[in-house]
């Protein structure tokens, strides 16, 4: 090989390297755009699968009021208006607002619920009791503490109160089961008062819930009726109306 050919060969190789160097980032970018981004976690993947399509996705937008943290560090909540194509069916409507609540506000610091938590199911009973079944992340990722757990539940109940007028009580399940506490403090064996003046449910409005209701998702009549707090209108008494006598034995849970 003559020196002249050698120079040509080296020159051509150098040009090829330069062209490759310029084209490689463009190729990498196109590849990234073409590949679907995997979800950050299993919970997020499940959320994508279980997320309900808005019933009125083409319908008019309604201003929903969602309650996230005010940021004041005192456990207070702040209503935020979000435009959503809300369904008229209370069950679907509740799913829409709760899924939006779980998705979180623009400022992640104002979240009240863990980002990985998923609403697995939501039912409405004829007496106005709503049953919300969340994934385990709600229990495992909510910061432990009375204030933080109370704020999480308050954000759910207040959001339901304002946006779904048919909900009177709320029962929270974790993965289809009744659990003792949310994250070690707040009692989840009880139902929470959402709206003492809830609108009555009609047979038409009860339709739209998850079709297959798991047995565990239905609270016992004892829980639903006796563990429910009385409406706030009940007059306070210094001593109870019924005399405290004896205590039954504690129920041992398996």
């Amino acid at each position: 090989m003559t020196p002249r050919w050698r120079v040509w060969l080296v020159g051509m190789l150098a040009i090829a390297v330069i062209i490759a160097g310029i084209y490689f980032p463009v190729l990498k970018k196109r590849l990234r755009q073409a590949t679907p981004t995997p979800p950050d976690s299993e919970e997020q993947a499940r959320r994508e699968l279980t997320q309900t399509t808005p019933a009125n996705s083409n319908g008019p937008l309604t201003k929903a009021k969602l309650f996230w943290s005010s940021g004041a560090q005192d456990g207070s909540l702040m209503p935020v208006n979000v435009d959503l194509p809300l369904s008229t069916n209370p069950t679907l409507r509740a799913k829409q607002v709760l899924n939006t609540l779980l998705a979180g506000p623009a400022d992640a610091r104002l979240r009240t619920l863990p980002p990985d938590a998923v609403l697995l199911a939501f039912y409405m009973l004829p007496d106005g009791t709503a049953i919300a079944d969340f994934s385990e992340a709600l229990a495992t990722a909510t910061p432990s503490g009375i204030a933080s757990e109370q704020m999480a539940v308050d954000s759910i109940t207040k959001t339901l109160e304002v946006n779904v007028v048919q909900v009177r009580w709320l029962k929270i399940l974790i993965h289809g089961q009744e659990v003792d506490t949310l994250a070690g403090h707040l009692d989840l064996t009880r139902t929470f008062l959402v709206n003492a003046k809830a609108a009555p449910m009609t047979s038409a409005t009860t339709a739209g819930g998850d079709s297959a209701k798991p047995a565990a998702a239905t609270p016992s009549s004892k829980t639903a009726t006796t563990a429910s707090p009385k409406p706030a209108s009940a007059s306070p008494k210094l001593t109870p109306g019924t005399p405290p006598g004896k205590l039954t034995q504690p129920v041992k849970k398996p």
Partner: protein, 291 residues
């Protein structure tokens, strides 16, 4: 001022017992005499409460707690009586323990450990005010919610204080929580369900919580002035005036910030308990009953 509900129950005679047999436990109201016999606890006592009621009651409307730390001036109506006494037992509950670490802060700080430190100081402050203190745990064990409640439920006239460190909240503040409203229906046999043992005590707990919160608010700026209601699991099964005290917060950068709060929290709780003591009247024990 006497309470109408209390007055309407004058003349009631209470029969109360506490029965424990292995894992089977039947606790009958702890506001009246209890006798322990061997490994089994059994008691039957009749007592006429000072105001004729076998219910926990307040002696009178509570005066605002004094800042001096002395018991609020509140002699029960009718003056001292052999049939009434004010409680002197405080059941202290350092929350969590064992495998349950509670809230965790930066640098490996654990709620289950810090609450023990707080409990030791609170205990010392209470004992200095002539309270008898019982703890639900001394070390790194984790009794169940029911086991913790049972300690208070087996005492006549005890008050219950559960100690917590929050994950969130304004650092340097302290919140007192009392059980939110709980229906108190007895079952067909006249028994109070264990899982709603707090129901008859909610008004007393609220008063107790408010008193402790006032003293805490004086010491820790930014703390609320009254106790807040929350569905705290530990309080639900406790048949006594019961509060949960939550200190903010575990994730402070400097652990010393929490340590500096210990004496103030202890003193405020002791003062609150002392101010509440004359307002909580329970029936006196019968001669021969367990002290």
């Amino acid at each position: 001022m006497r309470n109408k509900a209390s007055d309407s129950l004058q003349g009631n005679i209470g029969i109360n017992a506490f029965v424990g047999l292995g894992s089977i436990r039947l606790a009958l109201a702890c506001v009246l005499p209890v006798v322990l016999i061997g490994g089994h606890a059994l008691s039957l006592g009749t007592a006429r409460a000072p105001q004729g009621s076998n219910q926990p009651s307040m002696a009178q409307s509570a005066p605002p707690p004094s800042t001096s730390g002395q018991a609020a001036p509140g002699t029960p109506p009718g003056g001292p009586s052999a049939q009434r006494q004010t409680p002197s037992i405080v059941v202290l509950d350092p929350a969590h323990g064992g495998t349950d670490l509670g809230a965790r802060g930066t640098g490996g700080v654990r709620e289950s450990e810090i609450v023990l430190q707080f409990a030791a100081q609170v205990r010392a402050s209470l004992e200095s005010m002539a309270f008898q203190v019982m703890q639900t745990r001394q070390g790194n064990e984790n009794p169940s919610f029911d086991d913790r409640s049972a300690i208070a439920n087996s005492q006549r006239g005890a008050v219950f204080v559960s100690l917590h460190i929050a994950s969130t909240g304004l650092p340097g503040t302290v919140h007192v929580y009392v059980m939110s409203d709980l229906p108190g229906a007895n079952d067909a046999n006249g028994l109070i369900p264990w899982d709603r043992a707090q129901a008859p005590f909610v008004p007393l707990s609220r008063r107790f919580g408010d008193m402790v919160q006032v003293f805490l608010a004086q010491r820790f700026k930014g703390s609320p002035s009254t106790a807040q209601a929350a569905a705290v699991r530990q309080l639900r099964t406790t048949a006594a005036p019961a509060i949960a005290v939550e200190i903010s917060r575990i994730s402070v950068e400097d652990r010393n910030e929490l340590d500096r709060m210990v004496p103030g929290v202890a003193d405020a709780i002791a003062r609150g308990a002392s101010a509440f003591r004359p307002l909580y009247v329970v029936a006196a024990a019968n001669p021969g009953d367990r002290p």
